[in-house]
């Protein structure tokens, strides 16, 4: 119960940092996606069913505060969560390096999936160029944020997060 409340508090804090604090101090392409980092952490260390629901919710929250298309990130977050969750038993989930690499791979997957969905279903032809141009800084920022997460006490704990 306490771990669940702490997790919710951490997610709300991440959301506030990302929407109101980071934009003031960090230029746009270097804004990390803290919700994506949280989702990868859940996929590696959380339970399947509740984790999937929470991953979809995280994506939905991201959609509420980003762009015009509600459900876009909810969909991609869920897909990425399920993929990582399906192979998490084969991975050494307590490894910090693996976590950073997984966040990098998830970032690439998320941007690619978002771009395909946007190009297919919306009339925003120039967005592909913007996304590709900002991909590398975004990837680096997410990897850096993931490396900071590995320093948190919750990462060292062998227990599941929920």
């Amino acid at each position: 119960m306490i771990r669940g409340i702490a997790l919710i508090f951490g997610l709300v804090l991440a959301l506030v940092i990302q929407t109101s604090i980071l934009p003031v101090h960090v230029v746009a392409p270097f804004k990390p996606d803290l919700l994506l980092v949280a989702m990868v952490f859940l996929a590696l260390r959380g339970p399947a069913v509740q984790g999937a629901l929470l991953a979809w919710t995280l994506g939905l929250i991201k959609d509420v505060f980003s762009g015009l298309y509600l459900g876009l990130n909810a969909f991609t977050f869920l897909i990425i969560f399920l993929v990582i969750q399906s192979i998490s038993d084969l991975l050494y989930a307590e490894s910090g390096e693996l976590f950073v690499v997984t966040v990098g791979a998830a970032t690439l997957a998320c941007v690619s999936a978002d771009m395909i969905l946007l190009l297919m279903l919306t009339s925003t032809p120039g967005i592909g160029y913007s996304m590709l141009a900002g991909l590398l800084p975004h990837l680096l920022a997410n990897a850096f944020a993931a490396s900071l997460v590995t320093l948190l006490p919750v990462f060292s704990s062998p227990q599941e997060v929920l």
Binding site: A28, L68, T124, G126, S130
Partner: protein, 273 residues
């Protein structure tokens, strides 16, 4: 003998006093210059007086310094607090002055538009790097509705897209999904200003024959009913006419510095009202 025993001391004292008086009276004419007694005493005491004066001065300084130090720490702490307070007031005053300038310009725009408007503050930005939206601190409870135009002191900001009761989101004109009917102020050439994402826009659907030059001012055309006619959007920074094709490529730099947007004015007029 008996007399001397009885009055000897008093007589001696009297003689002494008289001698002293005589000595004093004899020295009056020479009052400015030292006599041999004075010179002698001064010469004898001079080597002693100098170090004594130094020692005395040292103790005097030490005492004064001690007395001064008693309250210095407290005074230092108090003054540091005062400096902090004054610095905070200077910063606040500077911030107020800058905010005042911005709001004054915004008020000027509000008076120009002649439509009811609501001044709002930006409280958040888009989570993603490739969408361009901002969150503002007013929503439907303040009369804001989807589709309303948003302007700043220098020109167009964007359009309201998502409204909650106490907050809303503005789609900035630089977002890829944004489209605003516009016209070149000088030649009246028409087009649609679309966002390009990186702080720039492009004027789409302007045919090759239209007269567009670098430096031209782009304003809203009023077509579509979202924005009132004649609100500044930006300035043409590049014009390219290819060998083929119907349209020309026109790049526009918005007048409003969207990355530093703090306040904006929501035009409280529902489109096509």
């Amino acid at each position: 003998m008996e007399f001397f025993k009885k009055f000897g001391l008093a007589a001696l004292a009297g003689i002494g006093i008289l001698a002293a008086l005589i000595f004093y009276s004899l020295n009056i004419p020479q009052k400015r210059s030292a006599n041999f007694i004075e010179r002698g005493v001064m010469t004898v005491f001079a080597p002693v007086m100098k170090p004594a004066a130094r020692v005395s001065g040292f103790f005097e300084n030490a005492w004064d310094n001690y007395l001064n130090l008693v309250g210095v720490r407290q005074e230092n702490l108090r003054m540091r607090d005062e400096i902090k307070g004054l610095n905070a007031r200077i910063i606040a005053a500077g911030e107020t002055a800058v905010a005042n300038q911005r709001l004054e310009k915004l008020l000027g725009m509000k008076n120009t538009i002649k439509t009811p408007g609501l001044t709002v503050s930006v409280v958040g930005e888009d989570l993603s790097s490739w969408f361009r939206t901002v969150v503002i601190d007013h929503g439907s409870s303040s009369g804001i509705a989807e589709g309303m135009a948003v302007v700043a002191a220098d020109g167009v900001v964007g359009q309201i897209v998502k409204v909650a009761s106490t907050s809303s989101r503005i789609l900035l004109l630089t977002d890829h999904a944004s489209g605003i009917a516009a016209t070149i102020q000088r030649s009246r050439a028409r087009g649609v200003v679309k966002g390009k994402g990186e702080g720039l826009c492009s004027l789409e659907f302007t045919t090759r024959e239209e007269d567009v030059k670098v430096g031209d001012v782009v304003v809203t055309s009023g077509i579509g009913g979202v924005f009132l006619k004649g609100i500044p959007i930006g300035e043409v920074t590049m014009v390219k006419r290819g060998e083929y094709g119907i349209f020309q490529t026109v790049i526009i730099k918005p007048y409003v510095r969207l990355s530093h947007l703090e306040e904006a004015l929501v035009v409280l007029r529902v489109p096509n009202d």
